[in-house]
Symmetry: none
Subunit: 141 residues, 4 copies
């Protein structure tokens, strides 16, 4: 499936699940009306305690992103697509902002930071490699 949990990135596991569900909805790999994997199934798939999954689902419910269909499971609410698209950007922007602030505060300058971003992106998205590493931050005269 589309989940990938990182135990050591400072974000709580349940929070990572919340986000990844929202992201899946945002990129429409999960559509309105569609059922989420059951707590039990996801718990097995991710090798994570069911309580943790349940907690994530609970938050998604209270965020109004999914709803309980009794006897059937949890389904993506109408309107979730737009909400999640927006949430996704905010979540990423917030995390980025936090790191960028730390970097600037620590004395790195904007160029240096953007160069690190390019390098990391190049590693993570090999195909974008050339694009990311040739022009990116250098103006062409």
């Amino acid at each position: 499936m589309f989940f990938s949990i990182d135990t050591n990135n400072g974000v709580a596991i349940y929070e990572q699940i919340v986000r990844q569900v929202k992201f899946a909805i945002a990129e429409e790999s999960l559509r309105v009306g569609q059922l989420l994997p059951s707590v039990r199934a996801l718990s097995v798939e991710l090798a994570i305690n069911p309580n943790t999954i349940a907690r994530a689902y609970q938050q998604l419910q209270s965020d109004g992103v999914i709803e309980l269909l009794r006897g059937r499971g949890l389904a993506v609410c109408t309107g979730a697509l737009e909400a999640c698209r927006s949430d996704r950007r905010t979540i990423i922007a917030d995390r980025l902002r936090s790191v960028l602030k730390e970097a600037l505060h620590g004395g790195l300058d904007a160029y240096e930071i953007q160069s690190i971003v390019r390098n990391q992106l190049a590693e993570l998205v090999p195909t974008i490699n050339t694009v990311a590493s040739n022009s990116p931050t250098q103006p062409i005269s």
Copy 2:
């Protein structure tokens, strides 16, 4: 002084202090031989429990960045500048990598991400605004 603690960014307070001390050394606002602010003083300044400060200082000691001058305080070790320069880049690169992975995994593409980075940098470093927003991440037609 140069500390700025954010209680809600997922990074433990003592860890934020560790990093900020390393960053201060990296940018030479704290130099070899210089004393750190005392546990008590920093605790007052940041309104944080002295034990938390002490824990940060202890980790800095075991990282070989500062050393105890008995009865006088904790001073930056020789060699700390190079170590901290390197640590700083690693710390930032790791955090960035983690966010970038999340963003890509969530369906944002490299351009979109770089655009967010530019925007955030522009907000955080108003003066660099133009530089950051002109060429950086746009391909040349």
Copy 3:
């Protein structure tokens, strides 16, 4: 269990725990993959504050000897056996060196010191009594 804390020997309690865990691993009474006693359990067993135990466990983690299994506890890492065997020898040799230096500096000669060592060993390991006193240090009649 295998812990024995001495509050008045100049070695901090958390440090004694660190060493005794390493020693237990070195003599394989604690094996790779095995869980340590929980912070709370050991705290009760030794009548020592849980924070002190936690501090010891934290140092063992940063020494790469044990690792966190989230929600389950702390387990001995692979490779810990060799590391602890080596640490054990170093720890003991360093402490011995320090006492021997003091003894020599204080005017005792090597023979006198070795005689004290023999006597102490004989008292501490009654069964090894004869062994300790026959060949190692006694002349053959």
Copy 4:
């Protein structure tokens, strides 16, 4: 002079001074009636805070090893030689006992320990080298 302070051996500095004075008396490099170096002089010599020296001298007084001669300084008491000879053995034996206990508790056996002792002594007393490393401690008649 005869002092040698080791800041990192777990024994408090004032306690090291107490012991080294007793040892000096035991080996008669300091004799009954002789004056100790003044607090100020010793403080300079050892680059240690006068308060620490004063504290050591205070303990030596309360141990009945030295006495105040008003206007002249602190002098070795009569009877101090025997007391210090005995103290010296006890102090060393106690520290040794503590290390040996730790070593045995940690799974090293008596032979291994004695071998470490021999090695350390050989390093510390180069001249005793051969004696110490071949036949343990006694010459064969």
